[in-house]
Point group: C2
Chain length 100, copies 2
Amino acid sequence: MTFANVGTIGVQPGHRDEVVAILTRRSTDLDSAGCLSYEVGVSDEHPDTVFVSELWESAEAHQLSLQLASVQAAIKEAMPLLSGEMGGNRFEVVGSPLRD
Amino acid sequence: MTFANVGTIGVQPGHRDEVVAILTRRSTDLDSAGCLSYEVGVSDEHPDTVFVSELWESAEAHQLSLQLASVQAAIKEAMPLLSGEMGGNRFEVVGSPLRD
């Protein structure tokens, strides 16, 4: 069942765009790991926050992706730029008004 | 610029699946209004919450969609089933590791 992970990542002031650059770096590993969609965003109202909205083939695919060497390296690279504030939700997708 | 709306909708106990049914009813109006993705979900950990993760062609497209007769009717239908607790975030998409 399609799994969604939507979240907020707090960043150190002035470092938002560096975190965005790390998160949006092209990754064929994520395709292979069952990532269906991975949108990264920002909001003028929250200048020290990066937003993500992800869809995965399953919760297991998402969990396993966290062990990929490229993902581990990205986490290590981003970590010093983060504030430690994290938020978000995980859920199972049950449908869409755009599909029959 | 692609606009994301991710949110939680609190529901009256026992009425979650009715709200899911309303939100997932096939709507060609949403396609026409610039809705790119509209995923509806649930989580066993939060039985009285419906989750949505939407992508739109623009923030304006999302805003205008709220005026559609079909959307207004769905809001009116769902309203008595809701608890009033709403959460979420809106952001501008700036990229994805799945795209160059």
